[in-house]
Symmetry: C2
DNA sequence: TGATCTCCGATCAATATGGTCGCACTAAAG
DNA sequence: CTTTAGTGCGACCATATTGATCGGAGATCA
C-alpha cells in the first residue's frame, strides 16, 4: 500500500544520478543524457525520456538540445525536495480523494464522513516529511538523513 | 499520488462507525451489521461486506452470525492503529517495491540503486506516523491529533 | 423450519500504469 | 548547409490493479 509509481522511482534515480555527476569530483558540470542513465540503471529508454521531459517541463531540470546535449539540474540539489519530485511526476499528494475535491465532485460519503479531518492531518504530516527532505539529503553513499524516532510521531493523545 | 484505496477508506469509516456505536451514549454495546453501515455512508453493500470480512479475519473485529448478528470491535479503539487497519486491507506498507523483496525477486536497478536507503527511511517514518495514531484518536468531532510542525521533519541536514 | 444474517469464492468492468512507437524540432560538428 | 545526435511530444497498446457484482453455503434465532 501507499506505493509510489515506477516513474517516480525512475525520476528519483535519474535526478540523483544527474546531481552526482554535476557536483561530483570526476567530471563536474557535465551534462547527462537519457541513454546514459537508462543503461546505468536498466530503465527502459523511452519511459525514462518521458519522465525527464516532465521533470524538465516542471522546472526541476534543464534540457540542452542537439548533440552533446542532455540534462542539468535547474537549481541546487538542496533546493529540490522529494515532495517536488514526486508531485511533479504523480500529481498532487493526496491520500484520499476528497482532499482536493472541487465543487460538483462530491463523494457520496461526504455528508456523514467521519474520517476526513484525521486523514487530512495524516496527509499533511506526510507532505511535511517529504518536503523537508531534499535531493541533497539523498546524495552520497552515506545517507544524510536520520530519523528522530520519538519526535516523528506528530500525534498527541 | 500515495493514494489509499477505497476499500481502505471504507474500512476506516466502518470501524469508526462501529466504535462510535459500541462506545457511544445511545446504544452502547450494540452490534452493527453491514447493511446499516452501507446505507449510512452510501457504500456498496457487497464491497463493504468483503472489507469487513477481511478485517474480521485479521482480528480487528469480531463477527456474530445469524439474525441480530453483526460486528463488534475485537479490542479497544485505542489499541487499533491506523497502520493495522490499512495494512489489513492493502497489505504491508511499502513505498517502493524493493523494500520487502524476497530472494530471486530482485529489481533490475538494484546493483546501482542509489535511492533505496533514503526511501526506506521515509517509509519508516510514514509507518511510525500511522502506527502512532489509533482509531480512538479518530473518534469524535474534534480530532485529537495535532501536528508538531518542526519536529515531524525527521531529517537532519 | 424458515428468515436473517455472516462467510467465501468466482467473476467482471473500469481505471491506472508501465512500456512502446513514430515523428517533428534543435543544435553542434564537419 | 548538411548531417547527425540528441530532446520534445503525442498517440498508442498491454497488463495489473481496483472497484464492484453475483451466487450460494453455513450459522443462528424465533
Amino acid at each position: 500500500m501507499l506505493k509510489i509509481s515506477k516513474k517516480a522511482d525512475y525520476a528519483l534515480m535519474a535526478l540523483q544520478h544527474i546531481a552526482s555527476v554535476q557536483f561530483g569530483d570526476v567530471t563536474p558540470g557535465r551534462v547527462v543524457n537519457t541513454k546514459e542513465i537508462a543503461e546505468e540503471y536498466n530503465i527502459p529508454l523511452e519511459l525514462l525520456a518521458k519522465v525527464l521531459q516532465v521533470l524538465s517541463k516542471n522546472g526541476l531540470i534543464e534540457s540542452h538540445n542537439g548533440p552533446k546535449g542532455g540534462y542539468l539540474l535547474a537549481r541546487s540539489a538542496r533546493q529540490i525536495t522529494i515532495a517536488q519530485i514526486l508531485e511533479s511526476i504523480e500529481g498532487p499528494l493526496a491520500i484520499t480523494d476528497c482532499s482536493h475535491e472541487k465543487d460538483g465532485d462530491y463523494c457520496m460519503q461526504r455528508e456523514h464522513c467521519n474520517i476526513r479531518t484525521p486523514l487530512l492531518k495524516i496527509q499533511d504530516s506526510i507532505y511535511q516529511l517529504l518536503n523537508n527532505m531534499t535531493l541533497g539529503d539523498m546524495m552520497g553513499g552515506t545517507p544524510l538523513i536520520t530519523i528522530q524516532s520519538p519526535s516523528v510521531q506528530g500525534v498527541e493523545r
